[in-house]
Symmetry: C2
Amino acid sequence: MARKPADQSVNRSDIIQAAAEVLQRSGYEAATMKDIAAAVNLTAASLYHHFRNKDSLLLAVLEVGLDYIIQQVEPIVHNDQPVERKLRAMTREHIIGLTENTAVGAAMVFEIRALMNVKAPPPGARPAEKAAYTEFIARRDAFFARRDEFEDLFVQVIRAGVDQGVLRPIDIDIFAKTLLGAHNWVGVWYRPDGRLTGEQIADAIADTLLRGVMNQPPAPPPASAHREAQL
Amino acid sequence: MARKPADQSVNRSDIIQAAAEVLQRSGYEAATMKDIAAAVNLTAASLYHHFRNKDSLLLAVLEVGLDYIIQQVEPIVHNDQPVERKLRAMTREHIIGLTENTAVGAAMVFEIRALMNVKAPPPGARPAEKAAYTEFIARRDAFFARRDEFEDLFVQVIRAGVDQGVLRPIDIDIFAKTLLGAHNWVGVWYRPDGRLTGEQIADAIADTLLRGVMNQPPAPPPASAHREAQL
DNA sequence: TTTATAATCTAATCATCGTTAGATTCTTTT
DNA sequence: AAAAGAATCTAACGATGATTAGATTATAAA
């Protein structure tokens, strides 16, 4: 019965990646379904075979991005390295994640607000439309909850550092947001053909921010350590 | 001949502020001329008496924001205080500027990209339309140039600090972007009814970032110094 | 080979929105 | 008061774009 998808037909992931790229150029509202479809050699109508509507496609892009970043960062929180090592590794994974896929990275920064703009269907709308909306709201709220959880990972590690006396008695929320701002901003200006790799950028940022909050000046970064060596 | 504007009629500034507020909620593409007009009790058509078109209104919002921030930050660069005092004061003025008018502050972060999306008029368009477009492009490019100059103010001060040996031999561009990212991000999450004032947030961020880049640990911030005392 | 269904297309619908035309009202100057 | 121009309005135009209906094609399972 169930047919295995053919190799040459596009799948959800193809569309999500293409959508992210169009979003990066145009922003959500300016990006048309036709633009996105053209990026995978389809017509706009064909996209509706894969996604309920435009909002749902946007959400899918953001979910993929958040899932990936959480998957990279979360394990670091639960290992038993010292706080400074954890923070450095988290900065690395976050920034590398944003720079490896700049389209999705930019969407994570710029398009989240578009999630707030979706309008409820009018009272006279078809039941299917209302159902789609309800489901969307639930998925969106779950997304925001996960986003908050992600940001809280940094808060947890920073708090542990302050409690242990490794970090100065800083305002934890403000530092977490300073950190996240510095990270996210990389997603705004980074270009793959730039002077530095994502890894180098991450190390430079981590150096400065760690030094800014540690009681003892941090150990110099493991100069040419390979990425996995940090985990 | 020339009539003095009546007191109860709306002026450019009113519309620009209202537009910024609508933009903050909806983003540029989702914001309609009707929405903006309603915020100043006008019809959409009336806006065209004050602005050539929607693009031009967006640009006006961004120009106002950039002008204000530059006006606050630029003088600091040219006084003769030590680098650390300058950087702290620049952070203060930048963040206070973003938090005093959150609508314009958010526009400066989120809507600049919309400037890239304006489409050229078709070859068959009216001359007036083509002229408006040409003028828009020129103004837009001037805006970007000024924006770059603004960011360069930070680079200049940081470079001076490194040259003087006050700051560690950091990567100047990366640190400037780290700083700007931390600043701009405040414009994303700050709420006027939050726990801290813009000034307090600025001080906390400046503490951490300065400590992160100074060779000697920075002097503790002038605890309860009033804002103007920094200049 | 037949069949079910996945994937895609063409063509149309429906709503929204930027923009313009032209009339009207309001305020200042003469 | 009359004139001039500024500010605003109503009504419409034209374009765009999300979405749907229904037909068509391709592919894997039977």
